[in-house]
Symmetry: C2
Subunit: 149 residues, 2 copies
DNA sequence: GCTTGACTTAAAGTTCACTTTAGGTTGTAC
DNA sequence: GTACAACCTAAAGTGAACTTTAAGTCAAGC
Protein backbone atom coordinates (compact mmCIF):
# COMPACT_ATOMS: atom_id res chain seq x y z
CA UNK A 1 0.00 0.00 0.00
CA UNK A 2 1.25 3.47 -0.91
CA UNK A 3 0.10 6.71 0.67
CA UNK A 4 0.37 10.32 -0.44
CA UNK A 5 1.55 13.00 1.95
CA UNK A 6 -2.03 13.83 2.85
CA UNK A 7 -2.97 10.23 3.62
CA UNK A 8 0.21 9.63 5.62
CA UNK A 9 -0.38 12.86 7.54
CA UNK A 10 -3.91 11.79 8.43
CA UNK A 11 -2.65 8.49 9.85
CA UNK A 12 -0.19 10.31 12.08
CA UNK A 13 -2.58 13.08 13.03
CA UNK A 14 -0.36 15.84 11.68
CA UNK A 15 -0.78 18.20 8.72
CA UNK A 16 0.72 17.51 5.29
CA UNK A 17 2.86 20.65 5.75
CA UNK A 18 4.43 19.11 8.81
CA UNK A 19 5.53 16.05 6.85
CA UNK A 20 6.85 18.25 4.04
CA UNK A 21 8.73 20.25 6.64
CA UNK A 22 10.22 17.06 8.10
CA UNK A 23 11.22 16.00 4.61
CA UNK A 24 12.90 19.35 3.98
CA UNK A 25 14.79 19.03 7.28
CA UNK A 26 16.11 15.63 6.28
CA UNK A 27 14.02 13.52 8.66
CA UNK A 28 12.72 11.29 5.87
CA UNK A 29 15.81 10.05 3.98
CA UNK A 30 13.98 6.80 3.19
CA UNK A 31 11.24 8.57 1.27
CA UNK A 32 10.86 7.92 -2.45
CA UNK A 33 9.09 9.98 -5.09
CA UNK A 34 7.00 9.12 -8.11
CA UNK A 35 8.28 10.05 -11.57
CA UNK A 36 6.45 13.35 -11.32
CA UNK A 37 7.92 14.19 -7.91
CA UNK A 38 5.07 13.14 -5.64
CA UNK A 39 6.06 11.68 -2.25
CA UNK A 40 5.20 7.99 -1.89
CA UNK A 41 4.90 6.65 1.66
CA UNK A 42 5.10 2.85 1.74
CA UNK A 43 3.88 0.74 4.64
CA UNK A 44 7.37 0.39 6.04
CA UNK A 45 7.78 4.16 5.79
CA UNK A 46 4.82 4.50 8.13
CA UNK A 47 6.90 2.58 10.68
CA UNK A 48 9.66 5.13 10.28
CA UNK A 49 7.14 7.90 10.82
CA UNK A 50 5.94 6.21 14.02
CA UNK A 51 9.52 6.09 15.23
CA UNK A 52 10.01 9.77 14.41
CA UNK A 53 6.77 10.53 16.22
CA UNK A 54 8.00 8.62 19.26
CA UNK A 55 11.26 10.58 19.37
CA UNK A 56 9.39 13.85 18.86
CA UNK A 57 6.88 13.09 21.60
CA UNK A 58 9.64 12.21 24.03
CA UNK A 59 11.28 15.57 23.46
CA UNK A 60 13.97 14.99 20.87
CA UNK A 61 14.69 17.99 18.64
CA UNK A 62 14.32 17.92 14.86
CA UNK A 63 18.11 18.06 14.63
CA UNK A 64 18.45 15.12 17.01
CA UNK A 65 15.94 13.07 15.04
CA UNK A 66 17.75 13.89 11.83
CA UNK A 67 20.99 12.63 13.34
CA UNK A 68 19.31 9.38 14.36
CA UNK A 69 17.78 8.91 10.91
CA UNK A 70 21.15 9.57 9.29
CA UNK A 71 22.63 6.86 11.49
CA UNK A 72 19.84 4.49 10.48
CA UNK A 73 20.64 5.06 6.80
CA UNK A 74 24.35 4.49 7.36
CA UNK A 75 23.94 0.86 8.33
CA UNK A 76 25.75 -1.47 10.70
CA UNK A 77 28.62 0.94 11.41
CA UNK A 78 26.28 3.07 13.52
CA UNK A 79 24.66 0.35 15.63
CA UNK A 80 26.55 1.51 18.72
CA UNK A 81 25.52 5.12 18.18
CA UNK A 82 21.91 4.17 17.71
CA UNK A 83 21.94 2.00 20.82
CA UNK A 84 23.37 4.91 22.79
CA UNK A 85 20.75 7.30 21.42
CA UNK A 86 17.88 4.93 22.26
CA UNK A 87 19.36 4.32 25.71
CA UNK A 88 19.65 7.98 26.59
CA UNK A 89 16.21 8.70 25.18
CA UNK A 90 14.78 5.92 27.33
CA UNK A 91 16.54 7.29 30.40
CA UNK A 92 15.15 10.71 29.62
CA UNK A 93 11.63 9.31 29.37
CA UNK A 94 11.99 7.52 32.70
CA UNK A 95 13.01 10.85 34.26
CA UNK A 96 10.17 12.70 32.59
CA UNK A 97 7.71 10.13 33.90
CA UNK A 98 9.05 10.46 37.41
CA UNK A 99 8.63 14.21 37.24
CA UNK A 100 5.16 13.80 35.75
CA UNK A 101 4.22 11.56 38.67
CA UNK A 102 5.31 14.25 41.12
CA UNK A 103 3.28 16.82 39.24
CA UNK A 104 0.30 14.48 39.24
CA UNK A 105 0.57 14.07 43.01
CA UNK A 106 0.49 17.83 43.41
CA UNK A 107 -2.48 18.22 41.06
CA UNK A 108 -4.34 15.50 42.94
CA UNK A 109 -3.76 17.41 46.12
CA UNK A 110 -5.08 20.60 44.49
CA UNK A 111 -8.17 18.75 43.26
CA UNK A 112 -8.83 17.51 46.76
CA UNK A 113 -8.17 20.98 48.14
CA UNK A 114 -10.58 22.77 45.83
CA UNK A 115 -13.18 20.01 46.14
CA UNK A 116 -13.05 20.45 49.93
CA UNK A 117 -13.27 24.23 49.54
CA UNK A 118 -16.17 23.83 47.14
CA UNK A 119 -18.04 21.58 49.56
CA UNK A 120 -17.49 24.09 52.35
CA UNK A 121 -18.25 27.06 50.11
CA UNK A 122 -15.06 28.83 51.06
CA UNK A 123 -11.29 28.41 51.21
CA UNK A 124 -11.32 29.65 54.80
CA UNK A 125 -12.32 26.13 55.76
CA UNK A 126 -8.61 25.34 55.87
CA UNK A 127 -7.80 28.13 58.33
CA UNK A 128 -9.11 26.09 61.25
CA UNK A 129 -7.69 22.79 60.06
CA UNK A 130 -4.70 21.26 61.79
CA UNK A 131 -2.10 19.32 59.84
CA UNK A 132 -3.69 16.09 61.13
CA UNK A 133 -6.99 17.00 59.51
CA UNK A 134 -5.42 16.74 56.05
CA UNK A 135 -5.28 13.29 54.43
CA UNK A 136 -1.88 11.89 55.22
CA UNK A 137 -0.56 11.63 51.67
CA UNK A 138 -1.39 15.29 51.02
CA UNK A 139 0.42 16.70 54.04
CA UNK A 140 3.71 17.06 52.20
CA UNK A 141 2.14 19.71 49.97
CA UNK A 142 1.08 21.97 52.79
CA UNK A 143 3.12 25.11 53.26
CA UNK A 144 2.85 26.43 56.83
CA UNK A 145 3.81 29.89 55.53
CA UNK A 146 0.81 29.94 53.25
CA UNK A 147 -2.80 30.47 54.14
CA UNK A 148 -4.41 29.89 50.78
CA UNK A 149 -2.71 26.79 49.37
CA UNK B 1 12.61 34.83 54.86
CA UNK B 2 12.64 37.13 51.83
CA UNK B 3 14.37 36.41 48.53
CA UNK B 4 15.40 38.65 45.66
CA UNK B 5 14.61 37.66 42.10
CA UNK B 6 18.04 36.08 41.73
CA UNK B 7 17.71 34.00 44.88
CA UNK B 8 14.19 32.89 44.00
CA UNK B 9 15.32 31.99 40.50
CA UNK B 10 18.14 29.86 41.85
CA UNK B 11 15.73 27.89 44.03
CA UNK B 12 13.53 27.13 41.02
CA UNK B 13 16.40 26.48 38.66
CA UNK B 14 15.38 29.22 36.24
CA UNK B 15 17.04 32.52 35.31
CA UNK B 16 16.07 35.83 36.93
CA UNK B 17 14.90 37.04 33.50
CA UNK B 18 12.39 34.22 33.40
CA UNK B 19 10.84 35.33 36.67
CA UNK B 20 10.79 38.96 35.49
CA UNK B 21 9.11 37.78 32.31
CA UNK B 22 6.52 35.86 34.32
CA UNK B 23 5.91 38.96 36.40
CA UNK B 24 5.44 41.06 33.28
CA UNK B 25 2.95 38.51 31.93
CA UNK B 26 0.92 38.74 35.11
CA UNK B 27 1.79 35.32 36.53
CA UNK B 28 2.89 36.75 39.86
CA UNK B 29 0.01 38.94 41.06
CA UNK B 30 0.91 38.11 44.66
CA UNK B 31 4.36 39.61 44.36
CA UNK B 32 5.25 42.66 46.43
CA UNK B 33 8.00 45.21 45.94
CA UNK B 34 10.31 47.06 48.28
CA UNK B 35 10.06 50.85 48.51
CA UNK B 36 12.69 51.14 45.77
CA UNK B 37 10.89 48.74 43.45
CA UNK B 38 12.81 45.55 44.12
CA UNK B 39 10.80 42.31 43.94
CA UNK B 40 10.46 40.59 47.31
CA UNK B 41 9.67 36.87 47.24
CA UNK B 42 8.35 35.64 50.60
CA UNK B 43 8.33 31.98 51.65
CA UNK B 44 4.70 31.61 50.73
CA UNK B 45 5.44 33.14 47.32
CA UNK B 46 7.88 30.29 46.74
CA UNK B 47 4.87 27.98 47.09
CA UNK B 48 3.11 29.94 44.37
CA UNK B 49 6.18 29.60 42.18
CA UNK B 50 6.18 25.83 42.72
CA UNK B 51 2.56 25.72 41.65
CA UNK B 52 3.35 27.78 38.53
CA UNK B 53 6.27 25.45 37.82
CA UNK B 54 3.96 22.45 38.13
CA UNK B 55 1.46 23.91 35.67
CA UNK B 56 4.26 24.87 33.29
CA UNK B 57 5.86 21.43 33.43
CA UNK B 58 2.56 19.76 32.73
CA UNK B 59 2.13 21.80 29.57
CA UNK B 60 -0.07 24.73 30.56
CA UNK B 61 0.59 27.90 28.55
CA UNK B 62 1.63 31.21 30.12
CA UNK B 63 -1.84 32.54 29.30
CA UNK B 64 -3.47 29.54 30.99
CA UNK B 65 -1.35 29.95 34.09
CA UNK B 66 -2.20 33.65 34.21
CA UNK B 67 -5.88 32.80 34.11
CA UNK B 68 -5.46 30.37 36.99
CA UNK B 69 -3.51 32.89 39.04
CA UNK B 70 -6.14 35.54 38.38
CA UNK B 71 -8.77 33.10 39.69
CA UNK B 72 -6.65 32.48 42.77
CA UNK B 73 -6.52 36.19 43.50
CA UNK B 74 -10.28 36.58 43.04
CA UNK B 75 -11.17 34.45 46.04
CA UNK B 76 -13.99 32.08 46.85
CA UNK B 77 -16.11 33.01 43.82
CA UNK B 78 -13.68 31.12 41.58
CA UNK B 79 -13.38 27.88 43.56
CA UNK B 80 -15.42 26.00 40.95
CA UNK B 81 -13.27 27.33 38.11
CA UNK B 82 -10.08 26.42 39.88
CA UNK B 83 -11.37 22.94 40.66
CA UNK B 84 -12.23 22.51 36.97
CA UNK B 85 -8.80 23.75 35.89
CA UNK B 86 -6.99 21.42 38.28
CA UNK B 87 -9.21 18.53 37.22
CA UNK B 88 -8.58 18.98 33.53
CA UNK B 89 -4.88 19.49 34.11
CA UNK B 90 -4.77 16.27 36.10
CA UNK B 91 -6.62 14.42 33.32
CA UNK B 92 -4.17 15.83 30.82
CA UNK B 93 -1.22 14.60 32.90
CA UNK B 94 -2.75 11.12 33.18
CA UNK B 95 -3.04 11.05 29.40
CA UNK B 96 0.49 12.33 28.92
CA UNK B 97 1.78 9.62 31.24
CA UNK B 98 -0.08 6.93 29.34
CA UNK B 99 1.43 8.18 26.11
CA UNK B 100 4.86 8.36 27.74
CA UNK B 101 4.50 4.75 28.83
CA UNK B 102 3.76 3.69 25.25
CA UNK B 103 6.79 5.63 24.04
CA UNK B 104 8.88 3.99 26.74
CA UNK B 105 7.74 0.54 25.63
CA UNK B 106 8.83 1.36 22.10
CA UNK B 107 12.19 2.73 23.22
CA UNK B 108 12.77 -0.38 25.32
CA UNK B 109 12.14 -2.47 22.24
CA UNK B 110 14.59 -0.38 20.26
CA UNK B 111 17.21 -0.74 22.99
CA UNK B 112 16.78 -4.50 22.92
CA UNK B 113 16.85 -4.44 19.12
CA UNK B 114 20.12 -2.50 18.86
CA UNK B 115 21.70 -4.43 21.71
CA UNK B 116 20.92 -7.64 19.86
CA UNK B 117 22.28 -6.18 16.64
CA UNK B 118 25.39 -4.98 18.46
CA UNK B 119 26.02 -8.44 19.94
CA UNK B 120 25.62 -9.99 16.49
CA UNK B 121 27.66 -7.25 14.83
CA UNK B 122 24.99 -6.60 12.23
CA UNK B 123 21.30 -5.77 11.85
CA UNK B 124 20.95 -8.61 9.35
CA UNK B 125 20.68 -10.91 12.37
CA UNK B 126 16.94 -10.15 12.31
CA UNK B 127 16.48 -11.26 8.71
CA UNK B 128 16.56 -14.91 9.68
CA UNK B 129 14.53 -14.46 12.84
CA UNK B 130 10.94 -15.62 12.97
CA UNK B 131 8.33 -13.72 14.97
CA UNK B 132 8.60 -16.39 17.70
CA UNK B 133 12.29 -15.62 18.14
CA UNK B 134 11.46 -12.12 19.39
CA UNK B 135 10.67 -11.71 23.10
CA UNK B 136 6.92 -11.87 23.39
CA UNK B 137 6.32 -8.37 24.75
CA UNK B 138 8.29 -6.87 21.84
CA UNK B 139 6.39 -8.60 19.05
CA UNK B 140 3.79 -5.87 18.79
CA UNK B 141 6.47 -3.48 17.55
CA UNK B 142 7.55 -5.61 14.65
CA UNK B 143 6.44 -4.45 11.23
CA UNK B 144 6.34 -7.32 8.75
CA UNK B 145 6.69 -4.77 5.93
CA UNK B 146 9.97 -3.56 7.32
CA UNK B 147 13.33 -5.24 7.21
CA UNK B 148 15.37 -2.89 9.32
CA UNK B 149 13.20 -2.12 12.36
C1' DG C 1 -10.36 18.26 -22.76
C1' DC C 2 -11.60 20.49 -18.69
C1' DT C 3 -12.58 20.97 -13.87
C1' DT C 4 -11.19 20.13 -9.28
C1' DG C 5 -8.78 18.84 -5.41
C1' DA C 6 -4.36 17.34 -3.94
C1' DC C 7 0.08 17.56 -4.96
C1' DT C 8 4.80 20.53 -5.71
C1' DT C 9 8.34 24.40 -4.22
C1' DA C 10 10.53 28.48 -2.00
C1' DA C 11 10.05 31.89 0.96
C1' DA C 12 7.87 34.56 4.26
C1' DG C 13 5.09 34.62 8.49
C1' DT C 14 3.52 32.99 13.14
C1' DT C 15 3.59 31.54 17.91
C1' DC C 16 5.59 30.56 22.10
C1' DA C 17 8.59 31.25 25.72
C1' DC C 18 12.01 33.13 26.79
C1' DT C 19 16.74 35.89 26.38
C1' DT C 20 19.49 39.67 25.46
C1' DT C 21 20.57 44.44 25.22
C1' DA C 22 20.87 49.11 26.65
C1' DG C 23 20.66 52.33 29.87
C1' DG C 24 19.84 53.29 34.40
C1' DT C 25 19.28 52.58 39.90
C1' DT C 26 20.18 50.33 44.39
C1' DG C 27 22.57 48.58 48.26
C1' DT C 28 26.40 46.29 50.50
C1' DA C 29 31.56 46.03 51.25
C1' DC C 30 35.68 48.26 51.77
C1' DG D 1 32.50 57.83 49.07
C1' DT D 2 33.38 54.72 45.63
C1' DA D 3 33.38 50.32 43.48
C1' DC D 4 30.68 46.55 42.05
C1' DA D 5 27.33 43.16 41.79
C1' DA D 6 22.53 42.72 41.51
C1' DC D 7 18.54 44.98 40.86
C1' DC D 8 15.18 47.77 37.51
C1' DT D 9 12.55 48.70 32.68
C1' DA D 10 11.39 48.68 27.82
C1' DA D 11 12.28 46.92 23.70
C1' DA D 12 14.45 44.16 20.48
C1' DG D 13 16.26 39.57 19.37
C1' DT D 14 16.34 34.40 19.36
C1' DG D 15 15.30 29.52 18.31
C1' DA D 16 12.27 25.91 17.65
C1' DA D 17 8.71 24.02 15.14
C1' DC D 18 5.75 24.63 12.40
C1' DT D 19 2.19 27.29 9.13
C1' DT D 20 0.86 30.06 5.47
C1' DT D 21 1.24 32.08 0.99
C1' DA D 22 1.95 32.29 -3.86
C1' DA D 23 2.54 30.32 -7.99
C1' DG D 24 2.52 26.42 -10.34
C1' DT D 25 1.87 20.92 -11.62
C1' DC D 26 -0.55 16.46 -11.51
C1' DA D 27 -4.24 12.93 -11.86
C1' DA D 28 -8.94 11.21 -11.52
C1' DG D 29 -13.84 11.98 -12.87
C1' DC D 30 -17.21 13.83 -16.07
Amino acid sequence: MIYTVGEAAKQLNVTPSTLRYYDKEGLLPFLERSGSGIRMFRDEDMSWLKMIDCLKKTGMSIKGIKHFMDCCMEGDSTIDDRLAIMGSQRDSVVQQMQEMQEMLDMLNFKCWYYQTAKDAGTCTVFDTMALEDFPEHYRKFIDPAKKNQ
